[in-house]
């Protein structure tokens, strides 16, 4: 399990906590401050939605949380593990064991069938569910032998969800998961995410432009200019089926 401990990431605790996270991108002579001192606490088992305009720092935060990127300043903890001081191999190990990713453009491997795309993850995970079960969870078992090019956008994104949940991740990080989908298809994908949260206790973080999706969140972080401008707690999260846009 490398240097990443899961202690404290269990139910009731905090999945992630951060103090003063900052991120500066340097391109040539110009500096872009993507994050300007973010403090946050993400409780385990919640659905969290990050809302905000383009360039407000949501994706940067998500990438740092997922171990794809490093902050320039501040500290980030996953449970009791300080992610900010892990080396590259430990971060990879963290992603492999704990994190499921879902992206706007699915990022499926075109040369692998739906089931094989899921197997990419189950091949290396510690305690995965069978690939077929993951596909069954998103309602795509009958399309297991189809290649991505033979699936609709919504189906591809559901394969991506199946791939992300097959390892039984502690966290699901979703960057605009419905961005390329129509509303009906988008809702099916959100239902799959809610189901993972409900049945596997997975903490789900969703980035979106779409304010409607905030209705299903336990907590909503509103981003502006690299900071969390406001946090809203939703006492009665809605079912995805009740959302529309």
């Amino acid at each position: 399990m490398g240097r990443v401990s899961t202690a404290g990431a269990g139910a009731g605790g905090l999945a992630f906590s951060a103090e003063g996270l900052g991120k500066v991108y340097k391109t040539g002579d110009t500096e872009v401050r993507a994050l300007r001192g973010v403090d946050l606490a993400i409780p385990t088992g919640e659905i969290l939605v990050l809302l905000g305009p383009s360039g407000s720092g949501k994706s940067t935060l998500l990438n740092i949380i997922g171990g794809l990127d490093r902050p320039t300043s501040g500290k980030l903890h996953y449970g009791e593990t300080e992610l900010t001081c892990l080396n590259d191999a430990d971060l990879t190990r963290f992603r492999r064991d704990h994190v499921g990713f879902i992206f706007q453009f699915y990022n499926l491997i075109p040369s692998l069938t739906a089931e094989e795309n899921v197997r990419l993850v189950t091949d290396i995970a510690v305690d995965p569910m069978p690939a077929a079960d993951a596909l069954a969870l998103v309602g795509l078992l009958d399309r297991r032998d189809h290649y991505p090019a033979q699936l609709s956008g919504g189906e591809q994104q559901r394969v991506a969800v199946a791939r992300a949940i097959a390892k039984r991740p502690s966290v699901l990080l979703c960057d605009e998961p419905t961005g390329a989908l129509d509303s009906a298809t988008g809702i099916r994908v959100l239902e799959a995410l809610a189901q993972a949260n409900r049945e596997l206790g997975t903490t789900v973080v969703i980035i979106t432009h779409n304010a409607g999706i905030a209705a299903m969140a336990d907590r909503v972080f509103r981003f502006l200019d690299g900071r969390i401008a406001r946090i809203e707690v939703n006492a009665q999260p809605a079912q995805p089926s009740a959302i529309s846009w």
Partner: protein
């Protein structure tokens, strides 16, 4: 157009690694071409100029003894421009501190006379004066090897008489560009030298006043050599003429010709391999480039650029690579050509030999490079021309993957998802896989074809020096002796065995096919001189009839059971018809053999002994050689071990230098092919590789996707490379064979191994350098956008 050219420059810079890798392969073609054709031209032109300036003869003949007046009769033969008679006499030189006998061939010169054929070029000093019979000119290579200079004195045994020679000049002549002692197959500058001495002095020393024993002549333009030879032979028949021959049978000329033939064979075989690979590399790289720039192409066309402007743009990309290759290849070719020429200058004695850079060779090499690049570009350029803006600007259809047969087998064998990714990608781009496999296979093939020359020469050495020649020394007598000479040799302490051998010059003919050669005879129970076929087996001499080497048999177009006409050259000039009793597949020379009795039936004498094969106790070598050196009846002693050392040194110098060049070039192919395949693979899969990293695959595991595919292709290419190399090696040994040597094709397992290992190292190092890019994969950026 200027902005498109700016794009061209930037593209070239962006793809510089791939462009340079292709340029390396093309440069190898250019370099080989410039080197081999350049060296060929330098050698041929130097030779021709030397022949012309020093009046090298067209026809040569030896005889026992003829009056000088015969020269005028010969000069009157129609077609003869100029004839000159002379004396050639072997002598032994006394170097008191050396145990090894040193031989010299003395040639008569007219010190103050008219322009001579086979004229001597003086390097230092002057020609001998008629007034001083002891003055000689020594050949440059011999003088250098033995530390002789103008003013040095040597004691010589000429025609049984001791005489002091004083070197007054150092020189060289066109009939001794390649100087071999009789019986030797490799020049030995320390043990054999050519000398020029005043005619009167040599006449006096050899009791040949106003007589000659050799003659050269030049022909009028357009005269028939064979008519003149025929006339010459009938005039000289009464004087023991040993059969006239043209340049092609002149030893020095034949060796040089052999070298030129090999160089031109190399020009024909090797550059095409590189050119072919380069065509394919340009094809795949440009193809990929155009696929990735599809949208840009649409946009540029939408702005109003013509189809042809776009086509020309991509063609220029390929031609720019060819330009780079021409510059690199020409520089490398000149450097190598210069090195090769210096090597040749060690074995071939020219007054001047330097690598001459020929503009026409460079232009031809450049034309080949440009043609190959353009040919490779045709496919890509055509697809760029055909793209319509609307189609180009919409995204390309997603690649259709399918599980193939291999895969269904793989499923049964439990392929991982990564395994499927690798196999399906290969199946998706079969053309590119074929190009990668065949490119690497050609690289391995070329390596194999060149390294097997080491096996080839080893086999030849083993066959010639160890299996056939079992003697330690070959002792040549000043004139044919009887059996008592053998007895005397056998009495020398340390001599273990002595066997007589004899060679008689003959003309063999089958209808219009005529070959000059010698028939060699050995005792029936010989243990020291065996005939060995190419499989390494000893072949017994036939009791009657002739045994021909397979080379000779094929030149005469005869098979076992056919009859050949044998005409003895010199002596009694007897003529007989003899059956071909057997054919032996030998590597060296085109010779004939018979039993002693059969040879006697041709010569009609009681087999005098011309030479003896001697086996000695190695510890007595020095004392035996000293005794032989001082024996007046002995003309020369060839020591097998020394010839072997020389032969191996020549192979090391010449062949290993060549092989080193080709190992570098063949590796360039492997590097060029693998680098381009890897870069294309990486650029196509960057998105997928980043996805794998995000999913939690380690860098090493992600690198495996790249290396796995390349590894599979390289692994597939290795056996194919051995197969290709087998064919190429066979072709090249056949092309490198001549009348003088026939190289055996006898590849060892080590050659298969070495060529595979070198390819593997070149391919895998290259693949690893590309796989290191996985380190720099920017997961975040790649995942932001659609592929």
């Amino acid at each position: 157009m200027r902005s498109l050219d700016l794009k061209l420059v930037r593209d070239l810079w962006h793809l510089r690694g791939q462009a340079i890798a292709i340029a390396l392969v093309l440069a190898a073609a250019t370099a080989t071409f410039v080197m081999s054709l350049g060296v060929h031209r330098s050698l041929a032109e130097t030779r021709d100029a030397y022949y012309a300036r020093n009046h090298f003869g067209d026809i040569f003949v030896g005889m026992t003894r003829a009056p000088r007046s015969v020269v005028d009769r010969i000069a009157a033969i129609p077609g003869v421009r100029r004839a000159e008679g002379g004396i050639q006499q072997y002598a032994t030189l006394n170097f008191p501190r050396r145990v090894v006998p040193v031989r010299a061939l003395l040639n008569a010169v007219e010190p103050d006379g008219p322009n001579h054929l086979n004229q001597v070029t003086l390097r230092q000093g002057r020609l001998p004066r008629a007034s001083d019979p002891g003055e000689v000119v020594a050949d440059e290579a011999f003088a250098k090897a033995n530390g002789l200079a103008v003013g040095s004195q040597i004691e010589a045994l000429i025609y049984g008489r001791k005489q002091n020679l004083r070197i007054v000049g150092i020189g060289l002549a066109p009939n001794f560009i390649y100087a071999l002692a009789p019986g030797d197959i490799i020049p030995d500058d320390e043990r054999f030298g050519v000398f020029w001495i005043g005619r009167k002095a040599l006449e006096a020393a050899t009791d040949r006043t106003e007589a000659i024993n050799s003659l050269s002549l030049t022909l009028e333009r357009g005269a028939s050599g064979s008519d003149v030879i025929h006339a010459l032979d009938s005039i000289l028949a009464p004087f023991g003429g040993s059969g006239a021959y043209g340049r092609k049978d002149h030893l020095s000329h034949a060796f040089l010709d052999n070298e030129l033939m090999q160089l031109s064979a190399m020009t024909r075989v090797i550059p095409p391999v590189f050119l072919l690979v380069a065509v394919f590399l340009v094809y795949i790289v440009l193809g990929r480039m155009i696929r990735t720039e599809r949208t840009q192409i649409g946009l540029i066309k939408a702005f109003g650029y013509s189809d042809w402007a776009i086509g020309r743009h991509y063609l220029k990309f390929a031609l720019a690579i060819a330009l780079l290759a021409t510059v690199m290849g020409t520089a490398a070719g000149i450097w190598m050509g210069d090195a090769m020429t210096r090597l040749y200058a060690q074995y071939y004695r020219f007054p001047f030999l330097y690598y001459r850079i020929s503009l026409s060779v460079i232009v031809a090499a450049a034309a080949l490079s440009f043609a190959a690049a353009a040919l490779g570009a045709i496919g890509g350029v055509r697809s760029a021309v055909r793209l319509t803006p609307a189609v180009a600007m919409s995204p390309p259809p997603p690649p259709a993957y399918r599980a193939g047969t291999v895969e269904r087998l793989g499923k049964a064998a439990g392929f991982s998802a990564i395994g499927h990714m690798i196999v399906r990608h290969i199946a998706r781009w079969p053309g590119r896989a074929v190009i990668t496999v065949s490119g690497v296979a050609l690289s391995g093939g070329l390596l194999f074809a060149t390294t097997q020359f080491i096996d080839s020469s080893r086999t030849m050495i083993d066959s010639f020096f160890f299996r056939a020649q079992r003697q330690d020394l070959t002792v040549t007598f000043t004139e044919p002796r009887n059996a008592s000479a053998l007895y005397a040799l056998a009495q020398v302490p340390g001599v273990l065995r002595v066997e007589p051998t004899r060679a008689v010059s003959v003309k063999l003919s089958n209808g219009k096919r005529i070959e000059r050669t010698a028939i060699e005879s050995l005792p029936a129970n010989s243990q020291l001189g065996l005939r060995i076929d190419r499989h390494g087996n000893a072949v017994a001499l036939p009791a009657s009839g002739l045994m021909l080497s397979s080379q000779l048999a094929s030149k005469l177009a005869v098979r076992i059971g056919d009859r050949v006409d044998v005409e003895m050259l010199g002596g009694r000039r007897t003529q007989r018809s003899l059956p071909v009793a057997s054919i032996v597949d030998e590597f060296v020379g085109a010779r004939a053999y018979s039993s002693e009795q059969t040879l006697e039936s041709i010569t009609r004498d009681a087999s005098p002994v011309g030479a003896a094969l001697v086996r000695i106790d190695p510890s007595a070598r020095d004392s035996i050689l000293t005794r032989l050196r001082d024996a007046p009846m002995i003309l020369g002693v060839t020591e097998k071990a020394a010839a072997l050392v020389k032969f191996r040194a020549m192979i090391d110098d010449n062949m290993l230098t060549m092989i080193a060049f080709y190992v570098a070039f063949a590796s360039a192919i492997a590097v060029g092919v693998v680098y381009n395949s890897a870069r294309i693979l990486f650029s196509e899969r960057a998105h997928e590789l980043a996805t794998l990293r995000v999913l939690g695959y380690f860098r090493s595991e992600v690198g495996l996707v790249l290396l796995g595919e390349l590894g599979l292709l390289v692994a597939a290419s290795l056996p194919i490379g051995c197969f290709v190399g087998y064919g190429m090696g066979q072709l090249m040994t056949a092309m490198f064979s001549s009348d003088l040597f026939r190289l055996p094709f006898a590849p060892s397992r080590a050659s298969y191994g070495w060529s595979s290992v070198i390819v593997l190292i070149a391919a895998m190092t290259t693949a690893l350098t590309v796989a290191r890019r996985v380190q720099k994969l920017d997961m975040v950026r790649v995942l932001k956008g659609r592929e």
